[in-house]
């Protein structure tokens, strides 16, 4: 089958593809606000109809929340690869509305210094990204009458509101959804024009603890001096988590399961065009503050963290109160990499705190906060190198296996619920303002994104 004809079709159809995206962007599918429930439903209906128009069997499936869209194309009995494509049709709320330069659900093309962009809520996250794949399939079908592989489409409408229905739906429909590999288009390129496959994500451990000193709040005049203050105790214990010289976490065994980044991967990262200074300066940093001896990208993608996300205790209102409070509180999260075991780590952190407590101080732990290991992207599979080649061809620049500092739960769910590897390819840029006013998607991301998927589909078919 000829790829060139498909790419030519994509180029010719770009105005119509853009119009279709605009139609989808006009639907106000804000999932977190019940007032927009019917709009979420409408977006699901629109996607079903659009898939049907290409000749793909698709339907809306009810959940306790917003509906899923599931579609299938290709012969289950053939031996071509079976891919699942995941995206989400719901969008973030638009507040603060007054910071938008145009109504968020009246999308338009705008010229910018970096070329034309599609401006509107969901243009990048995730309607625009989702449609890059749909449009690639459309072009392929129009040129060749069918797709080079078997594909299951799986769109959810609750990604921006915690995906409460996702795992139950996957469990209830595991047989139908299981494929050889999942493709996810919900990530960014590491820098403008550098095609990226996110191959290294971090896991997560959450915990929360309370340090109790005196039985009751005390008057700092009466007990100031002999009285143990849990705020001071909390500060001392948090400070004890870190070696300020090296930036390392001092919790015993913290780095067990952490692996150094392979040289080849480091080479890709070093040449991926990531602008460290800009990344740091944009938020007010002059330097990276993590472990010494590691670059910003390594600190963020390949090294674990123990982060304090919240800390509170005592009097926090206006003015002053002369209190030695009974309790101090702290919320922490760890980002995990490699083979770090969240359960073992939770025990180590708790032991560290208990070992460092003063006489008369007590600690209690919040229960049932979840942990998940770092998702493993199985980049040894030939599809990963095949996709990298396809992306490199399209963008005329070596594609990069990047890391991601955050966690993408869906990738972990595909593995844990369906035992299916996932590959994350996305064309967003860091300046897309997702979750913020004036969200946009570069027309170049949309156009070359569609072309990228056309190439990737062919490459995966050959590799599979």
């Amino acid at each position: 089958m000829s790829l060139d004809a498909v790419l030519a079709r994509i180029d010719a159809d770009l105005p119509a593809a853009t119009d279709r995206l605009m139609t989808l962007l006009r639907i106000q599918s804000i999932s977190t606000d019940p007032a927009f429930k019917s709009e979420c439903d409408k977006a699901a209906d629109w996607l079903v109809a659009d898939l049907n128009s290409i000749g793909i069997q698709a339907e809306k499936r009810a959940t306790p929340g917003h509906p899923m869209v599931v579609g299938h194309v290709g012969d289950p009995d053939s031996d071509v690869p079976h891919l699942l494509f995941y995206g989400h049709y719901d969008v973030q709320p638009v507040d603060p509305l007054n910071l938008w330069t145009a109504p968020p659900f009246e999308p338009k093309i705008e010229d910018t210094d970096n070329g034309p962009v599609i401006r509107g809520r969901g243009a990048s996250d995730d309607k625009g990204q989702l449609m890059t794949f749909v449009e690639a399939c459309r072009a392929w079908k129009e040129i060749h009458g069918n797709l080079p592989c078997r594909i299951t489409f799986f769109f959810e409408g609750e990604e921006e509101s915690g995906s409460p229905s996702l795992v139950p739906f996957m469990e209830a429909n595991a047989k139908e959804l299981k494929a050889d590999l999942a493709l996810i288009c919900d990530t960014s390129m590491v820098s403008r024009g550098v095609p990226s496959i996110a191959s290294q994500l971090r896991g997560m451990l959450k915990d929360e603890f309370t340090i109790t000193g005196p039985r009751i709040d005390l008057h700092s005049g009466h007990y100031g001096g002999p009285g143990l203050n849990p705020l001071r105790e909390m500060a001392r214990i948090i400070a004890s988590f870190y070696d300020d010289e090296t930036g390392k976490v001092t919790v015993e065994g913290f780095y067990e399961g952490v692996h150094e980044v392979p040289a080849e991967q480091l080479r890709q990262w070093q040449s991926c065009g990531f602008d460290e200074a800009d990344y740091l300066h944009s938020v007010g940093y002059s330097m990276p503050h993590g472990e010494t001896g590691y670059s910003t990208l390594e600190q963020q993608w390949a090294r674990p963290t123990l982060e304090v996300n919240g800390m509170w205790g005592g009097y926090t209102g206006a003015g002053s109160k002369t209190v030695i409070p009974s309790q101090a509180h702290c919320k922490i999260t760890c980002r995990l990499v490699g083979d770090m075991d969240p359960d073992a780590l939770r025990g180590r952190i708790r032991k560290h705190v208990e070992d460092h407590l003063s006489t008369d101080a007590k600690v209690s732990w919040d229960q049932d906060l979840e942990g998940s290991p770092a998702p493993v992207m199985n980049i040894e599979r030939p599809e990963f190198e095949a996709a990298r080649g396809a992306l490199s061809d399209e963008w005329e620049r070596e594609a990069v296996f990047t890391g991601m500092g955050g966690s993408i739960p869906i990738a972990g769910f595909f593995k844990s619920v369906l035992d299916m590897d996932a590959m994350l390819i996305g064309f967003a840029n860091d300046d897309d303002a997702i979750h913020s006013p004036n969200e946009k998607y570069d027309v170049k991301s949309f156009h070359k994104g569609i072309r990228s998927w056309a190439r990737v589909l062919e490459a995966l078919t050959k590799a599979g």
Copy 2:
């Protein structure tokens, strides 16, 4: 003049004196709640009438808040000592009402293991204490027709709500209020049956600061690692305030102006019957946590502190949020002793924080939080030793010059506004539950308190 006759009169009049106190206790003079404004007024009226009934010129004086009561007795042109007596007629709110075993404004005598008590809001703080002095004056007048010295009575009705009118009123009536020495009856005995003159109070310095890391709140996935976290920074800086081995504050120059307690004073403290174990155990401590090498009483009365009263930043709601916040906040107070200079100390603390900040962290300071040096009780004045002798006689036990961990602003105001020394003598016990449900005053405190003042008045007249 015969003291014995006065003491006998006090003994005989105790039932009537108790009835008078009960009447005053039935007035619901809660100063902080506007709903009780007329009750505060009523308490002031009652006191004016009661003073008048003894033959003391007294009147209610309006303020922007609750009224003052000012009374005078004695000849301005005589050369007997002129004393000012201060007390307050307002009381704390009574919440939580359900914890009271009887209505708070229906006082009654109850028998307890430590003897009979007068139970009711204000019984100890400060109506009972205030009336010990008034009743001593009444007995003296009844026996001798006049008092041994000239006295100005000064009662306020806003002590439990921050005394907003106090200093302006003192300034506006300085000439009228100025006396040789102020007597204040609003403190406790160091332990049951041990008469106490609070001669060592601590001063106060308040400050508040904010540490800013990134310009905005960051996602802990994206920036966790390279991102400086102001909560960690705050913890490190608070921890750096202290030497955990010695319990000392590490701020350079912090102890400038701190003096060791004279041996004679230490001896009094050591033999004052203070039950250290009980004091600590009652709030959950097994040991004192202040500077090593100092007793609990020294840590609390004679050593300065740097206390964290509030600390907060990041996400503090239910569950978890993966945020590196932009800011962390902290409220501190210092208790000052000796000649510590609050302004110099503020500068030292601010310098310590600034010197310990990491690159990219910034600190800002709340302005206009007040500081006041430790009030100096001029115990070299002969009146102090005279009063101590009088109290020792009454309680048949050596009276003690004690310290107080807290600050009594009125003592400082008498000095700063009227250039008048103050002497703090009180008969409350630590178990009086002031500010709490079921407040009480031992009948013994009331009875021997009245007798104590009769003796003190005579002793001060001789000493003055």
